[in-house]
């Protein structure tokens, strides 16, 4: 019998705070290619290990190795590289635009570009993402026009959501991108419900839910897993573990658990843990999960391990709570550099072509930005009308809203 002692409150804390030396030696990272790839119809209890490791494809030499290395044409990877560069370029422009007062707020993806850009490539028309605010790569990879995204960020008169939402809260049904909510985690059960609807209608579509490491603590995460586990609809439950939730390190949400992916085990849902900075690994995992969904094998959980290199949002300065250089110390590297190195190793890419591509993409982004700004920004140019404020509360405007609209003079 262990000795009695008064209890104490265990408050997990990151090892290192500002001023300290970043240290990720506690993150155990298997070599690329090391993890087995079971057939997607393997019983969940036979592949529990996949939640406690990290599936990786790209090794340090830029080679794609091991059973998870997907068979893909170099063209697709080149496109993936362009998508990621585009997202990063777009982010940089919008961060600046926000600082210039052209909009109120922005959230960037720095370091996390591979996840949404690669995942989207495993989806088909008709599938639906239920994203958070940090998956704009889904839109870019789906071919959504950059200028639409900017119009949304600027809340101008061409904003597809009529100036109603915070910047980056995009919505495009056609591109499989569900309207983003400011309330964390609420989209998780909705994705499950959407997939249940597909199952009820017996239509070959799937849903992909997205959530951050910190947000897995929310009630909706549980509700989603309970319903997914019971009704087994075609849904992929993605967790983006970027180590931070604003100023809170992932250990506060993860507590005593081995990994976020392992939360799936209590529900009998297969769970993968994947190198989120490895475009090929992300794509391979997404493919594996979509195969399960498309074969009516039910839900899959994927934890993408990555690092939020930037601030949480333009309102956040991470140097207040973590060492400035922590991002550089992050052992999984940069997703763009890694895919670039792979393509160069494949012989289909070069530093020069990369520089040239960067310039082209920048020109494209700048052109889109000009186009958007010609319409308007948050405080200038053509902006949504106050009239728009009263529309879409209901399909038809009820009398009390008509009265209120008249009061404003519209």
């Amino acid at each position: 019998m262990p000795e009695e002692r008064a209890p104490h409150l265990n408050v997990p804390a990151p090892g290192i705070r500002p001023g300290g030396e970043p240290d990720f030696t506690h993150v155990s990272i298997p070599a690329a290619g090391e993890v087995d790839r079971p057939a997607p119809d393997t019983p969940p209890e036979e592949m529990r290990d996949l939640a406690f490791t990290i599936i990786r494809v790209l090794n340090r030499k830029g080679e794609a190795v091991g059973p998870w290395a997907p068979e893909v044409a170099p063209e697709m990877l080149l496109q993936g590289l362009r998508d990621m560069v585009k997202l990063r370029t777009y982010d940089a422009r919008m961060m600046t635009a926000q600082r210039q007062g052209k909009t109120s707020f922005y959230m960037q993806h720095l370091g996390e570009e591979a996840i949404s850009c690669a995942f989207q490539r495993a989806l088909r028309k008709g599938d639906m993402n239920f994203p958070t605010y940090r998956q704009a790569g889904l839109l870019i990879a789906a071919g959504y026009p950059l200028v639409n995204m900017m119009n949304q960020v600027y809340s101008n008169d061409a904003d597809p959501v009529r100036g109603r939402q915070l910047p980056v809260f995009y919505s495009s049904k056609q591109h499989g991108f569900f309207s983003i909510s400011g309330n964390l985690a609420t989209q998780y059960p909705q994705a499950v419900g959407w997939a249940m609807a597909a199952a009820i209608k017996r239509e070959k579509k799937l849903a992909a839910a997205w959530i951050g490491d910190g947000s897995t603590a929310e009630s909706d995460f549980h509700g989603a897993l309970v319903f997914a586990s019971t009704y087994k609809p075609p849904v992929i439950l993605n967790i983006v573990n970027n180590q931070w939730a604003i100023s809170t390190f992932q250990g506060i949400a993860r507590g005593g658990a081995g990994t976020f992916a392992a939360r799936g085990h209590g529900f009998g849902i297969p769970a993968l843990r994947v190198d989120g900075n490895d475009y090929l690994a992300v794509y391979a995992a997404a493919q594996w999960a979509t195969e399960r969904a498309r074969a009516d094998l039910g839900p899959t959980i994927i934890e993408f391990v990555t690092y939020r290199t930037g601030g949480h949002s333009t309102s956040d300065d991470p140097s207040a709570y973590r060492p400035k250089e922590e991002g550089l110390a992050w052992p999984l590297g940069d997703p763009i550099l890694r895919l670039k190195a792979h393509l160069i190793a494949l012989g289909v890419w070069s530093e020069d072509r990369h520089t040239q591509a960067e310039a082209e993409i920048k020109a494209e982004v700048v052109a889109a930005q000009k186009e958007a700004e010609a319409i308007g920004t948050l405080h200038t140019g053509r902006r949504p009308s106050p009239r728009d404020m009263f529309e879409d509360v209901f399909a038809e405007m009820p009398p009390h809203l008509v009265r209120q609209r008249h009061e404003v003079g519209y």
């Binding site: 919505s171 059960p189 909705q190 249940m196 009820i200 909706d220 509700g223 989603a224 319903f227 879409d392």
Partner: protein, 337 residues
């Protein structure tokens, strides 16, 4: 026309809607094989299959949250929350999601769903089986809120709610499930089979949302109410011997302001009645609107009769429930002023 209880009328509305539209699906705790703790969905699973009427885990969040996703997909989920008192875990999904989806996506994603829940007291259900949370819904832009007071309206309004392109909160006064109830707890209960509003039309007969119903015409005062209290009001008016116009609002949002204003301008006096706690109850909104719209016709302040500002107690059921005596006294007071 068939005589039905409110339970049968609700069941019938479900069946009619499910028959007409394959996209209508029903889910909730115990609603499947068993047909719901109040039996409002009895027989639906057997008739329409387990894909279209099924039991859920006990998670109001999951029920509403998955229904939002289903509605966005294109289905029409009609979900049951076992008691309104248990809707709180699903409140975030109702308020932050269902109510705002059309708005925030500028109409690209919508949420046509109905959230049904039994409300109100009078059954010795104490604080967690007696609540009337309508004001928590009427405050939220993007929701419609409906409260039927009889089988005919229960069917008609539920069919109208299912036909809506937006989320509707459908509050069923459980004290009325089996018969009208005038608040005289010491008198024998009356079944719907003995009441004209137990007469329910066959097939697809809709009671439109947003239209109040004058239950009793009157000239001396207007009594605005809904749900169980409609019957209490009618009894109290007879007992008071005052010629009060009794209006069953039926839909709280959108509100039939025209009907209200016409009546109060005619009578010059107004009593507002509901079971929910007084403070910030829907009666506050009614009083605020009536005094604003009818100020120059009002001969007395608008008077509110409501549940006390306490949790709903068990032993003191009839001290809490705003029964005919309290209503009669309010009518007398408003006539005195």
């Amino acid at each position: 026309m068939t005589r039905m209880t409110m339970i049968e009328a609700i069941r019938d509305a479900h069946a009619v809607a499910m028959e007409a539209d394959d996209d209508v699906i029903v889910m909730g705790e115990d609603v499947g094989f068993f047909g719901g703790v109040f039996r409002c969905t009895a027989g639906l699973q057997q008739r329409f299959g387990v894909d279209r009427c099924f039991d859920t885990p006990i998670s109001e969040l999951g029920i509403v949250g998955t229904a939002v996703g289903m509605a966005a997909y294109g289905l029409k989920p009609v979900v049951e929350i076992q008691f309104a008192d248990y809707m709180y875990p699903g409140y975030d999904q109702i308020v932050s999601e269902a109510a705002r989806l059309r708005y925030r996506s500028a109409g690209e994603f919508t949420c046509p769903m109905v959230v049904r829940m039994p409300t109100g007291g009078g059954i010795y259900g104490a604080q967690t089986h007696s609540q009337s949370p309508e004001a928590l819904f009427t405050h939220v832009a993007g929701l419609k809120t409906v409260v039927p007071s009889n089988p005919a309206d229960a069917k008609g309004l539920l069919l109208a709610a299912i036909a809506e392109p937006d989320p509707v909160i459908f509050l069923e006064p459980k004290r009325l499930y089996n018969g009208p109830y005038d608040g005289h707890h010491d008198r024998p209960s009356v079944p719907w089979s003995k009441h004209p509003d137990g007469e329910v039309g066959n097939g697809h007969c809709i009671t439109p949302l947003g239209k109040a119903r004058v239950m009793r015409e009157g000239t001396q005062a207007t009594l605005l109410t809904y749900g169980t209290m409609v019957h209490v009001a009618l009894a109290a008016v007879e007992e008071a011997g005052v010629d009060v116009e009794v209006i069953d609002l039926r839909t709280l949002l959108p509100l039939d302001l025209d009907a209200i204003v016409a009546s109060v301008n005619k009578t010059g006096r107004c009593v507002v009645l509901h079971e929910a706690t007084l403070t910030s109850g829907f009666g506050a909104e009614l009083a605020a609107q009536v005094q604003a719209e009818c100020f120059y016709h009002l001969e007395a302040p608008v008077l509110r009769v409501a549940g006390w500002d306490t949790p709903y107690p068990h032993a003191q059921e009839w001290d809490y429930f705003p029964g005919p005596d309290r209503v009669r006294r309010a009518i007398e007071t408003v006539m005195e002023d």
